[in-house]
């Protein structure tokens, strides 16, 4: 257990020592989205019976939770691989499960911190209420965990920063942008609606939003089932890759 706590603590320190970039910057990005889209659309659009800016906030929060969880585990691993300092965690007798848990939980912690930062920064100019905090927490936790685990896979797989960037630009960004962060999928044409149902991120955003409004496109129980199932699959995959020493102990 000490091995786990040390690695977890080290991973927390790693981003906390540069919190200005790792937490501050994504909060600012989310605020800019909100100011610009909110300014343009707030007067004209209502979704789920709330003003557009208010509708947008939970989606933006969740998007930042996911993207930052992914960014944390992936960048930590690729940096360690490129500088060679990865050996400091490969030489000690840390069990795979502890290795996994430390990277994922630290990445989720960063995601939650950014998410909380966005929320705190936006409460001033929206009428956001929290209807069901447990749902909010559950979706943030499992969604963040899923993206943190994906980040581990991406970080271990990539040999260069541009490969990691490709993973981010061609998989993570489209999945999060086309998930209903900026709209309710019922405003989409039939085909895109159906396609959205194959995107796990859609369920994360939708379920997360349910916690604020008590209204969602899909029942939150179903969404959570989908998210937990996806997490379980990626969890099992990551663990088996770690156990085989895939790419790390070639």
């Amino acid at each position: 257990m000490i091995g786990f706590w040390t690695l977890f603590y080290k991973e927390l320190l790693r981003f906390w020592k540069v919190a200005f970039q790792t937490v501050g910057a994504p909060v600012l990005t989310a605020l800019l989205y909100l100011l610009i889209f909110g300014h343009v659309l707030d007067e004209h659009v209502q979704v789920h019976g709330v003003r557009y800016t208010t509708f947008l906030v939970p989606g933006l929060v969740m998007m930042q939770v996911l993207q930052n969880a992914f960014a944390n585990s992936s960048s930590s691993l690729i940096q360690a691989k490129i500088t060679g300092s990865i050996i400091f965690v490969l030489l000690p007798p840390i069990p795979y499960s502890a290795f996994f848990a430390a990277y994922v939980l630290a990445a989720v912690a960063r995601g939650l911190m950014v998410g909380l930062g966005v929320l705190l920064a936006t409460v001033w100019f929206t009428e956001l209420k929290i209807v069901a905090p447990l749902w909010i927490f559950a979706f943030a936790l499992f969604g963040g965990g899923l993206f943190a685990a994906l980040g581990m896979i991406a970080g271990i797989w990539s040999e260069k920063f541009d490969q990691l960037a490709a993973f981010q630009n061609f998989l993570i960004m489209p999945l999060t942008m086309l998930s209903g962060v900026f709209y309710s999928i019922y405003t989409l044409p039939e085909f895109w609606q159906r396609l959205s149902h194959y995107n796990p991120v859609f369920y994360m955003i939708d379920g997360f939003r349910y916690g604020f409004f008590g209204v969602s496109d899909v029942a939150p129980e179903i969404s959570l089932t989908v998210v937990v199932a996806c997490f379980a699959v990626v969890f099992a995959l990551t663990l088996s890759l770690l156990k085989r020493g895939w790419k790390l102990r070639a």
């Binding site: 000490i2 091995g3 706590w5 040390t6 690695l7 603590y9 080290k10 320190l13 790693r14 020592k17 360690a80 500088t83 060679g84 300092s85 050996i87 400091f88 965690v89 490969l90 030489l91 000690p92 007798p93 840390i94 069990p95 020493g245 102990r249 070639a250």
Partner: protein, 239 residues
């Protein structure tokens, strides 16, 4: 008594290159062992396989009787490795680095031993300095310190004196000799053959992924009377 290190028929390819072509070695506990050979002979590859950083294609490696794959946790706990490459984590200072490394090995309060290591490696005054601000030789000393935080019975040093000044080199050898005297098994690679001659009780000479000579230092020297270890090395390599 179980061997400190036991290596049986280890083969490792990198693509079509045969980096290890069937290496077998046994190193007894308490020994001071030299692993010598020209650049590219396979020394680091063998050490990485022993440390579990590489998976060999075939063969088996054990540390104090524990298989490095099947029983990796025990094997890694018993092994300390000073890597050849000068690597460091730029986020931390020297003491943080050593505390974190202790934690990875499951040790919580290790400051007494850390202080002792720092003292012996002449790093005490640099304890609170960030890794980025250290000179190359100092970074190398921290690597040595990191390998020792968990007092491993088997210590592998992959060219620990490359780029290290004379004074520290002597200090380092004094420290390593002391550890050896206390029962730690030492495995050393170096291109400074006088060092190997002075320190190692037994030596393996490697060439192109094979062990081509393996004996006590005294016997190796006796086979080429009047020469230094360097003469022995050159003649063996050209055979």
């Amino acid at each position: 008594m179980v061997a400190a290190v036991s290596i049986i028929d280890v083969v490792k390819h990198f693509g079509s290159l045969k980096a290890l072509a069937g290496v077998s070695l046994e190193i007894e506990q308490g020994g001071f062992f030299g692993l010598l050979g020209p650049n590219g002979a396979g020394k680091t590859t063998l050490i990485s396989s022993l440390a579990g950083l590489l998976r060999p294609d075939s063969g088996s490696l054990k540390v104090m009787g524990h298989d490095v794959v099947k029983d990796f946790r025990e094997a890694r706990r018993l092994l300390g490795v000073v890597p050849q490459e000068l690597v460091f984590d730029p986020f931390f200072n020297v003491r943080e680095t050593l505390r974190i490394q202790s934690g990875y090995f499951g040790i919580r309060k290790n400051d007494d031993w850390i202080d002792e290591i720092l003292e012996n490696l002449d790093l005490t005054s640099k304890a609170e300095v960030n890794m980025r601000r250290l000179s190359g030789g100092m970074k190398r000393r921290v690597l040595v310190a990191q390998a020792l935080v968990h007092k491993p019975p088997v210590i592998v040093l992959d060219e620990p004196t490359a780029g290290v000044d004379v004074e520290l080199r002597q200090g380092l050898w004094q420290f390593v000799r002391r550890l050896n005297g206390e029962g730690h098994t030492i495995i050393l690679t170096t291109h400074y053959l006088e060092e190997a001659e002075a320190l190692c009780g037994r030596i393996a000479l490697m060439k192109q992924g094979r062990v081509i000579a393996l004996d006590t230092t005294a016997n190796l020297m006796a086979a080429h009377p009047g020469g230094t270890l360097e003469d022995v090395f050159v003649r063996t390599m050209n055979q």
